[in-house]
Amino acid sequence: MATTTATITLTSNDISDSPISITNQAIFTTAGTDTGITETTGLARKKFATSGNTVLLDHGLAQGIAQDVTADKSAKVYIRNINDRGDGTKYVTILLTAVEIGRLYGGDWMLIPWSGGSGKDVEFTASDTTETTLEYCVFYE
């Protein structure tokens, strides 16, 4: 059994009068159990230079992850835009099917649970055609 932990640390010395420091560690387990998740895509990278809507994680596929990730299971998606931030006007919009979740600017990352299901692709749209690289990984059962 694999033991995978994801730890977030949120810190700021000046967003309030007192410094804040929030740390939380999650252990990736299968749905409703203490058993560690044992499957992963591994860490992957995708380079692109288009502003068109693009599927990152395709739930239309008939095999592989598409069959394994379903609403009653457990899956986590990590995505990072590894470009430089630049002037802060370039970003990648992350969507769940047609619904926009948010924007990953250069250097930004996200970790979300993923219910998956038919047509529930994770997609992205870049703000322009500058070459952008996304790093991503799915942990699933």
Binding site: S12, I15, V99, G102
Partner: protein, 155 residues
């Protein structure tokens, strides 16, 4: 300007004999269209989510929509592995946060919908939550550059 840093560490050393994951990624939370101006505002909450109803956890607003560099943190503090909350945005289920899980993601509050009483801007991309199995204790935060404040009804 404030400097707030969110760092993720994902570690797994027992996938196989020759493969381990050891990932570290820090990021600073900046305003849109700036080289490095930090977000100045945050909300931090802790709440008990009863079962059976899909609740609005973080409400959208026109100001959030117009400054789309916002970041959401949600943690399920329950301990029973069977407990979970369903996190949704608009009509899309993002996924389940089981006991001990957390999520962190950007939120641009950007999809246009029809304006309503609970949707003053017409951009109903509230972050929603539903507890299943048992009530769940959640902590959640929104780091943002401005929310639309509501005029007091007795003003």
């Amino acid at each position: 300007m404030a400097t707030t840093t969110a760092t993720i560490d994902i570690v797994s050393q027992d996938w196989s004999k020759n493969y381990e994951i050891n990932l570290n990624a820090p990021m600073d939370l900046f305003k849109h269209n700036t080289t490095g101006t930090g977000l100045l505002q945050m909300n931090y909450h802790k709440a008990v989510i009863p079962t059976g109803t899909n609740f609005t956890l973080i409400q959208e607003s026109a100001a959030l929509n117009s400054n789309p560099a916002n970041y959401v943190y949600i943690a399920n503090n329950n301990t029973d592995p069977e407990d979970y909350v369903i996190i949704s945005i608009q009509n899309e289920v993002i996924g389940r946060l089981y006991s001990g899980d957390w999520a962190f993601f950007p939120w641009s509050n950007a999809t246009t919908a029809t304006a309503g009483v609970d949707d003053p801007s017409g951009n109903d991309t509230d972050i929603e939550i539903q507890a299943v199995t048992h009530e769940c204790i959640v902590e959640y935060a929104l780091f943002h550059s401005g929310e639309t404040l509501l005029t007091a009804s007795d003003s």
